[in-house]
């Protein structure tokens, strides 16, 4: 564990372990989440969804629903006041389906009623005639099948030209001599299923008409301003008439980057001139947001006998599902970080994402790097075995360091302590095997009492992972903060901070307050509610960027206010105030060359963060059941703004990686989700989580305020790979698909 903070706690400056400011309302039940909101005269909105994965919409008959008890509105695509399509990066997704539906659960119509049950019953009375279309559900075949989008939405955006049908993005990284031979070569083929963010707070919000044609939307989201920029055109309103306010967010993990009920709720509210609340059920939530891309990855690693990697060749196929969302960036990330944090001279990495009629995929914690880390770290273990070399030693021998180049040719100029995190994670003491007999709760199968220890094998695994911090490839990535400084009734200075950074549970509220206290040397600092109405954009609470960006913006605004205060003699009189807004940008990034995937000028990624992890598992090889016993990890965090929160991110991020390794998969048949519930889609419980010994490596990032890096994603990137390394050690099997199923462990291996 890192050294205890030395500065005094009650003030809560940068670097101190401070209690979350929202913790007390959250433990008393007073914190208002987006599904808790209420307004006088409120109606309940409900979404009618497609039962087909791909079908033409022949007709929609709402006549039976319109007159039903309590029903105030029934809306279809004909009622969309403005643009009929929206999208995070490409406006390819209908607000409500008009000519066809492209995925199971796609919104087709809306109802508002006085009681949610009335709304559901009216929804059942809406008659939609569909004409099933050819299904595109096998990503390998997608490029040879009819296009599910007649328009090529992602063409003309500077990506490599690929004329095949259904290709969202096709990307190549060609480095050095892609045919370079090594003395040893290992090959593998890997698959990952679709993972769900499974945030506990369902998609929800309240839309309130303002009586002047505009609307206020209170919603759980990751990026208020990009929501507004998508919602306003669909409503046919200027941006000023659409105000998005952050309601309490019950977790996000990427799944709230795209819109859910925002436009729908606003349409119903404007149509009925009453507040409308929408709350998705858990089943609906599986259709209500994008998921982690399922992937198929072929990899070949060539190395010399001394263990030095010579050439890495990988082909990555991502299933983007029905709409683009952030798939183009995921495609690029998967390729950019495919090799892992290892220095290589030669590489050929091809990464392709296709449209299909499977559930739409987009952002989820780790964003492309999770998938390739699983494949490339399995390859590193395989290579170590082929060389007869210790897997940790092999990784150390290839560890990237400042001055080395990524496969994209980007030279590492900032912090990159790969060898340090590897050494520290490898040095964490692995617990001794616990003796038998023992309480079955501490055996694979747990309370099921399926073994007394016979058939249980122990395995220890290791992995390393990394990814980018912040938005990349030329994206204009910025965050605004506004500080209002005034004197209270007693003459004491008070600072009110405005920043639209989404508090999604990660603790950015504390980061903002700690930064302001540090910069202003003031105790009386408060954060105003996040809204598009009071401050410019904060960008998205994603890409592990929010701590860095919010700290940068708040620091800049505080320093401007402090300078102004000094100019005014250091005090403010009654009624006097200073109110300044500043925008912070991280150093500029540039696009990659579309043909070679090499950097064009400067860097494509602003900074990187890495983590190494050691895992102990016990596997009942007769039943295929697994218990993760212990996890030790060392993570590169730049500077821990709030150590307690950083440990929390590492433990929680690790849990999600364990979930992908061992249990989490959205299952589909012909594009239809068959397990849209927490009964059938399993996430780790208190009995599934091992203790996590985490060590923070603080190697300051030179370009970032206070030297911070994001900390949310690296544990998720590395943990799936690390658990699977331990699983292979325990079972002696390849286990090249996650989540691993009991059958993969205990049935005879195929030919």
């Amino acid at each position: 564990m890192s050294a205890a903070p030395t500065r005094k706690l009650e003030l809560g400056r940068v670097g101190e372990a401070v209690k979350r400011v929202d913790a007390i309302p959250k433990v008393t039940g007073e914190f208002a989440y987006s599904s808790d909101l209420f307004a006088a005269g409120m109606l309940w909105g409900h979404t009618v969804r497609s039962p087909h994965a791909h079908a033409g919409v022949v007709s929609i008959d709402i006549s039976k629903a319109v007159g039903m008890a309590g029903v105030h509105a029934v809306l279809t695509h004909e009622d969309v006041p403005g643009d009929k399509r929206y999208g995070l990066e490409f406006a390819d997704q209908p607000v409500l389906a008009f000519d066809r539906v492209r995925y199971f659960g796609e919104p087709v119509a809306l109802v508002a009623a006085e009681h949610p049950e009335q709304a559901r019953r009216a929804a059942e009375a809406i008659e939609v005639e569909y004409e099933p279309l050819e299904l595109v559900v096998e990503p390998e075949r997608a490029a040879d099948q009819p296009a599910i989008h007649p328009q090529r939405w992602t063409e003309g955006h500077g990506y490599r030209d690929d004329p095949r049908a259904n290709v969202v993005r096709d990307m190549r990284i060609v480095r050095g001599d892609p045919d370079a031979e090594g003395e040893v070569s290992v090959e593998g083929y890997y698959e990952l299923g679709i993972q769900d963010q499974a945030f506990l707070g369902p998609e929800s919000g309240l839309a309130v008409p303002d009586g002047e044609g505009g609307v206020d939307i209170y919603v759980a989201t990751q990026w208020l301003h990009v929501d507004r920029d998508q919602v306003a055109p669909c409503l046919g309103l200027p941006k000023e008439q659409v105000r998005i306010h952050l309601a309490g967010v019950g977790g996000a993990f990427g799944g709230r980057e795209d819109l859910s009920m925002q436009v729908h709720g606003a349409m119903l509210a404007l149509h009925t001139n009453r507040p409308v609340k929408m709350v998705y059920t858990r089943e609906e939530s599986f259709f209500g947001h994008v998921h982690r891309h399922p992937a198929r990855i072929w990899a070949e690693h060539r190395a010399n006998r001394d263990g030095k990697l010579v050439n890495v060749r990988m082909r990555i196929l991502l299933d983007g599902g029905a709409y683009a969302s952030s798939s183009t960036a995921v495609t690029s990330n998967a390729a950019s970080f495919a090799v892992g944090p290892y220095a290589i001279e030669n590489a050929l990495i091809e990464s392709t994402c296709v449209y299909t009629n499977n559930p739409p995929c987009g952002a989820m914690r780790g964003f492309g790097a999770v998938q390739t880390c699983f494949a490339s770290e399995a390859q590193m273990d395989k290579l170590a075995a082929a060389l007869g070399m210790d897997p940790v030693e092999l990784r150390l021998r290839n560890a990237m360091a400042p001055g080395d180049a990524l496969p994209t040719g980007q030279k590492i100029t900032g912090s990159m302590p790969v060898a340090d995190v590897i050494r520290k994670a490898a040095a964490l003491p692995v617990p001794e095997p616990e003796e038998l007999p023992r309480d079955p709760i501490r055996l694979p199968g747990g309370a099921g009492n399926t073994t007394r220890g016979e058939g249980v094998r122990r395995g220890v695994g290791f992995a390393v992972g990394f990814k980018n911090i912040g938005y990349s490839e030329g994206f204009d990535d910025y965050t605004a903060a506004r500080v209002r400084l005034f004197a209270d009734a007693g003459g004491e200075l008070v600072a009110e901070i405005h920043c639209a950074a989404a508090e999604v549970g990660q603790g950015v509220t504390n980061v903002i307050l700690q930064t302001a206290r540090t910069e202003l040397e003031l105790e009386n600092v408060m954060l105003a509610p996040g809204t598009t109405a009071a401050v410019d954009s904060a960008g998205s609470a994603s890409a592990s960027r929010m701590t860095w960006m919010a700290a940068g913006a708040v620091q800049a605004a505080c320093r401007a206010v402090r300078d102004e205060l000094e100019r005014r003699g250091g005090t403010l009189g009654e009624g006097e105030e200073i109110d300044l807004e500043r925008i912070y940008r991280h150093p500029r990034t540039f696009p990659l060359d579309p043909e070679t995937g090499q950097v064009t000028e400067g860097r494509a990624h602003v900074a990187l963060a890495c983590a190494a992890m050691r895992v102990v598992v016990e596997v009942d090889v007769e039943l295929g059941l697994t218990r993760v016993v212990w996890i030790g990890t060392a993570q590169d965090v730049g500077k821990a703004v709030n150590p307690q929160a950083v440990y929390g991110q590492i433990e929680g991020g690790t849990a999600q990686g364990i979930g992908l390794a061992l249990m989490e998969e959205i299952q589909t048949r012909d594009g239809l989700i068959t397990n849209a519930s927490f009964t059938d889609y399993l996430i780790p419980t208190a009995l599934d989580m091992p203790p996590v010994d985490a060590e923070l490596v603080e190697d300051p990032e030179p370009d970032a305020p206070y030297g911070v890096k994001g900390v949310g994603e690296p544990p998720t990137v590395v943990s799936t790979a690390a658990v699977m390394s331990a699983m292979r050690a325990a079972t002696g099997r390849e286990l090249d698909r996650v989540p691993v199923k009991p059958d993969d462990i205990c049935l005879p291996e195929g030919p």
Binding site: R20, T28, V249, A645, G648, G652
Partner: protein, 152 residues
Amino acid sequence: MNITVTVNGEPHQAEIWPGESLLFALRERMGLPGSKNACEQGECGSCSVLLDGRLVCACLVLAVQADGHEVVTVEGVAEDGELHRVQDAFVQTGAVQCGFCTPGLIVAAVDLLRHTPQPTDDDIREALSGNLCRCTGYAKIFDAVRLAAGQA
């Protein structure tokens, strides 16, 4: 139809539709949204309440079944305006992130310590295994329960 439920010591009357769950009645009829609606099928424990002293998922109880009975929700756990020691321990240990699972976990942990004042780690894990948390990985939740039990 009309029901009267004693919630956190106070009688609450509500006009309900018979198909409504206790969770819906608490949240939407009685102004007590502290119990959470994460799955509404008894898998996640976010709506955990005490019904006549027994830990239940409020989403699996019909509101009419609670008519004439006593319910304690997360809003009723604090005593005399002071946080319950379990609530305070969650704040101290960093066991709260997004917090959506927190109300259910608070009620479940209060229930655990009432029956088992000195739980082992296995007791804690088993008692809380019906409460899903997606943010924390549970480590700090275990710390909180140990702290509330005076073990930390």
